[in-house]
Symmetry: C2
Subunit: 358 residues, 2 copies
């Protein structure tokens, strides 16, 4: 067995509820396979601001750097959403930790559980067979470019900027993933309008000959947002910038039936960071309603990507599959055909997955 | 009857084929209602570059300013898409004319023809009843902010910038439209990350009390991209920035079954500009395959918005409705249930609509 130290950062809203089940699954897997997982916990986001004044307290960053992997919950608070003038904001914590840990590659696999084909607003025949792996660049773009507000407050700007090395390192990861999958890469940009996108396209075009076995395609973001709904099967590995990736992957969550089903892995120079793609969902926080499966799937990604434990990861996705096959659903993935008695809250759903892990 | 001078700018790719049917419908409506429509034609995009070296020849701009409305086709050429280093590009023509004519408000109605409910990749029950009107800001944002390339070519940037007055004027149009419709406005931004979005949200929040009868909601772009697939019915009037609007409206085209069904109106200070939201589709250009309905619907928008001719506009949408009810389809909106004999090319489809206009 291996020995790993995992930092759990619940963050805001439903973060605490869902990460507790991710952690429970890790504990169980550790017992089953003889791995020694130790845990610590730290604050971020609104929780960090409340306790320390900072959305990313120094202590959290230190613990993050010292850990072998991070399990994160969610971030954001309605209070700040409605106050555009707030200078300190929960999301800054997430952006800062991504930057500080050098997590430039955000992997977002769109996995389809057969049982959830009907939970989507898309037709089952459109969905069946879809399997997409997004590579979203995570530490550049308009997210991190200089932000300005004019003195009179009447104009505001953000710099959308990319450097060659930033595009190259994420593109290489995507090409390599494509090579190991179905050998198709689609790079998404807006090169017909944006200079940053033209650099992006240039770099991807330059790298392509080094991956002659990969079929490379370029698509404009507007077209990609459309094609993703029209025919998601046409995509395999999708490579894109920070902002476009943010939008496309949330959109793609509907392929999997719900945001509550999607996990993501942020990797790069430092400690790997694993989180659901869903937000803090304050409207249902503390009500035992949140879907814990994305957090549990984040743990599967952690085991596979950070620790190289493929069997353990598969054990988890199999357990989720079995849970769904047995008819259990949280509210977000229930549909008209769901047996009402099998619509579970966060706790009951987490427990079911633990049972099926046996 | 009224007297109006209309400039037709076919542009690139399928532009020529589709605008010719938009024009034919205008001629017919003119005859039927005793309006005197006169026409001129001008170049833009790749066609402009080929003929004059400029994607927006001076003559085109002069004619545009002197006309009462513009019917535009499509823009773009694959040659430039694959050459990120080209300095002169077709799309510059479209961006420049938008800016020169002060067309800051792009209205994109997502209309659902009952007959096409099954043509979408979304489930009919998810679609039924959807009726969205997008207000996309069209002359600001990262589209028009300063573009830079470093001397060594290794970094590239675009400035995402908004000024208060730019947000205010489009927001007012959206609030007014909401007032005349179902009194719900959803403003989409990324205020949790972007300063330009925070200004956007601030301005919309400040205006909201002046429209107390309108229920105003703010949504992050990633969430909106997701909700649009999950539950499009929840949207009525959607207000958003240039880039986000580009992405969301293309995505929303799948609600209407195809890009080939959506028209848009760009209005503001100068001559109104009417165009399909689809692109130049070079892969099918000149093959009599393009769907002319978006261009014909653009004409309906022109009649209603620029000339105040509601009955005439309705006559056109009714004729399209009748054509679809009779089972006729172009390839993009045909599905497994379509009678093969009723799958028409551009010309035959245009003629059908003219017949049903009788
Ligand atoms: C919370 C927010 C800053 C974040 C982002 O935009 O990156 C989130 O939407 C995500 O996708 O992880
Ligand atoms: C062709 C392109 C410049 C244009 C845009 O991005 O505005 C198009 O996609 C549109 O939506 O009208």
């Amino acid at each position: 067995g291996i020995k790993k130290h995992i930092l759990v950062i619940p963050g805001d809203g439903i973060g605490q509820e869902v990460t507790s089940w991710g952690k429970a699954v890790l504990v169980k897997i550790g017992e089953q396979y003889g791995h020694e997982f130790t845990f610590d916990e730290a604050l971020m986001g609104h929780a960090g601001i409340e306790a320390t004044g900072s959305p990313l307290p120094d202590e959290t960053l230190e613990k993050a750097k010292a850990s072998d992997a991070i399990l994160f919950g969610a971030i954001g608070h309605i209070k700040y959403d409605n106050d555009p003038s707030a200078k300190v904001r929960p999301e800054q914590g997430l952006l800062k930790i991504r930057k500080e840990l050098g997590l430039y590659a955000n992997l977002r696999p769109i996995m389809l559980f057969d049982e959830l084909l009907d939970a989507s607003s898309l037709k089952p025949e459109v969905l069946r067979g879809t399997d997409i792996l997004f590579f979203r660049e995570l530490t550049g773009d308009v997210y991190f470019g200089e932000k300005k507000r004019s003195e009179d407050g009447n104009s505001a700007s953000d710099l959308m900027i990319y450097h060659r090395y930033e595009v190259e390192r994420i593109a290489r990861k995507a090409f390599e993933a494509a090579r190991a999958r179905s050998k198709r890469l689609c790079s998404v940009d807006k090169a017909n309008v944006l200079e940053a996108s033209r650099l992006w396209r240039e770099v991807v075009q330059e790298l392509a000959p080094q991956y002659p076995d990969v079929e490379t395609e370029h698509m404009f973001i507007d077209n990609a947002a459309m094609q993703l709904v029209k025919n998601p099967k046409k995509f395999d590995v999708v490579l894109t910038a920070n902002l476009f990736g943010d939008i496309l992957t949330d959109e793609a969550s509907q392929i999997a039936g719900s945001m509550g089903m999607l996990a993501s892995a942020s990797v790069g120079d430092g400690t790997g960071f694993f989180e659901p793609i869903h937000g803090s969902a304050h409207d249902i926080a503390g009500q035992d309603k949140a879907n814990p499966l994305a957090s549990i799937l984040s743990v599967a990604l952690m085991l596979e990507i950070s620790f190289g434990l493929k069997d353990e990861a598969k054990k988890i996705t199999d357990a989720i599959d079995a849970t769904l096959k047995a008819g259990y659903r949280t509210g977000d993935i229930a549909d008209a055909n769901t047996d009402k008695a099998k619509i579970l809250g966060t706790t009951a759903m987490g427990q079911k997955v633990l049972e099926y892990l046996n």
